[in-house]
Symmetry: C2
Subunit: 337 residues, 2 copies
DNA sequence: CTGAAAGCGCTAACAA
DNA sequence: TTGTTAGCGCTTTCAG
């Protein structure tokens, strides 16, 4: 049986309200009494029961985070940002992994709500309006994070994908590449962010004015998909004298480079390849991957910051927060004359 | 204002105890009344307040997990295991990242306790007896996970490091390597698991009987450390005709291979290199890394399973649970005649 | 089978 | 400045 406020009160010879006052600093308490209470607390090793506290204050100091899978390094980075700034404001994180299942997302949202979390961050990889509606019904601060699909009307934080893609293509062009292949995936999905990225790419190609672009559609965004598209892509490269491939995700790029490695095509000597995301592996891999940095840590940090602002009734900027991007110029793309 | 048990009771025309009984199935309730209550619950969209529930039942259904950094992929895997089996038993995970600071670990432990978590898993990378003592004082189920250092007398789950290292060395020997360098780090630390790994390596070398072993001590376990030891290691390799390097961690191996890549030494053609851990990158990297698989997911899963067993007063096996290992035979080590 | 009432540990009026 | 008291939303005796 753990020690409660009553025990402290008894030992200090005061009422429980007084004890409450000193631990919360909510009302003036005479120096003498405060000292006695503090002593009693110390002697008993008393720690307030946060559950009881939550019940009366209606503040759990908990923020629910629903993710697809912490095994994805970009999600781990986001969670890192979320946790770290949450911590600064004394919020704890309750983590739930949905593994992409919408029903699970919904169930977890309800579960979190019944645990009285004060806000929810949903990191999803599909588009799931129903869950979003459900969470919005809770009327607690909510941020939706999705690196693949957009969902208008829901607070979110991301990069400007059009601009990012435009800049990367410009960079490639600047390196002397004239024929650049953009590999996308699932671009037919209404809400896919690929739309913007393709547009950015096309705009840069168009601005350059020398060549038309090349588009290839992979089956997905994973390393395997990157590897599997290898044969098609290399064929395309050879037929059209393409010198650079801009992959819509790092994983795709890594998979493609792996395919090249296995088939004795040298990157970047024979072919320049860049990615998008700057996931952890991008800088570890050899050749180091040239890529667009999506600041995952910051995205998480800003997301929870927004929730906390809302909780504190601070002024909120617009619903969609855009974070700055950077082109990470590394080894996988070389300059050609 | 959210709907409470009172609202349900009123709408259903029964007492709150009856409502409680139907939601908990704790006592018989007549079919008719049950139906009415269920209807009311449904109509109001009632969800029990878990905080209030926790207060009276003293069960928070929360398990606290203190980690160093979710950015480490092996930790992400452990957390994945923890979360996934926790979920099966209806436990939620509260995550706290200490970034290796012992004071922070301790503070979080106390914080978690005051949030009434029912158990704690501490994933640490240093040895911190004080924190362990503190947590043990809580008298709640506790598991300590540390891939670098051992702490006797505290429940933990790991692999048998001696055996793992022995097996890997055997495998290298079997590939025809006679001169194998083992690169360690921090082996002088009393509690370091390196002791066991070095012993396993030495035993295999001794059993083989042909050559003495070679030991090199890096400055740490990271990719940078692996890269930085490159010069020394390659010198050692050349001077002694070493053909294989067994690194005590995957990161060290990756760093070393990166060094080789940058210095035009081919792996495995010129030198075989293997790691230890089988972190995510090991199978993505090219060449694919030959390594010892430490089953991080399972370690997390078994750890929380143990906590839940304890919570349910099920029988507990011994304090130290050993999980089976596997040698992942991949590309970075080749057979030599 | 059902309801009234006590109480989990704490905060926050309200009095004094 | 301090104590008394009424809850927060729920579970759980104890009567009936």
């Amino acid at each position: 049986m753990s020690v409660t406020i009553k025990d402290v009160a008894k030992l200090a010879g005061v009422s429980i309200s007084t004890v409450s006052r000193v631990i919360n600093n909510s009302k003036p308490v005479s120096l003498e009494v405060r000292r006695k209470v503090l002593e009693a607390i110390d002697e008993l090793g008393y720690k307030p029961n946060e559950v009881a506290r939550s019940l009366v204050t209606r503040k759990s100091n908990l923020i629910g985070v629903i993710i697809t899978d912490i095994g994805n390094s970009y999600i781990a980075q986001m969670v890192r940002g979320i946790e770290e700034v949450g911590r600064m404001y004394k919020y704890d994180i309750v983590l739930s992994s949905s593994y992409g299942n919408p029903d699970t997302e919904k169930k977890f949202a309800q579960l979190l709500r019944s645990k009285q979390v004060e806000g929810i961050i949903l990191v999803s990889e599909k588009n799931n309006d129903e869950v979003i509606k459900e969470i919005e019904d809770f009327r607690i601060p909510f941020v939706y994070l999705n690196k693949y699909y957009s969902n208008l009307n829901t607070p979110t934080v991301s990069i400007d994908n059009f601009e990012a893609s435009f800049k990367m293509t410009k960079y490639l062009l600047g390196l002397g590449h004239e024929k650049i292949l953009y590999t996308t995936a699932q671009e037919e999905n209404e809400a896919s962010l690929e739309k913007f990225k393709i547009d950015g790419y096309k705009k840069a190609i168009r601005d350059n004015g020398k060549n038309k672009g090349f588009l290839y559609s992979a089956n997905g965004f994973g390393i395997d998909d990157g590897y599997n598209m290898g044969e098609d892509v290399i064929k395309l490269v050879k037929e059209n004298n393409i010198t650079a491939v801009f992959c819509c995700q790092d994983e795709l790029a890594i998979g493609l480079i792996n395919y090249c490695y296995d088939n004795h095509i040298k990157v970047p000597e024979d072919l320049s390849i860049c990615g998008y995301g700057d996931t952890k592996i991008a800088s570890i891999y050899r050749p180091k991957l040239t890529t667009v940095k999506e600041p995952y840590y910051d995205i998480g940090a800003v997301a929870i910051r927004r929730i906390i602002k809302k909780l504190k009734d601070e002024e909120i900027e617009e619903d969609h927060i855009y974070l700055p991007i950077r082109i990470m110029k590394r080894e996988s793309c070389r300059r050609i004359k």
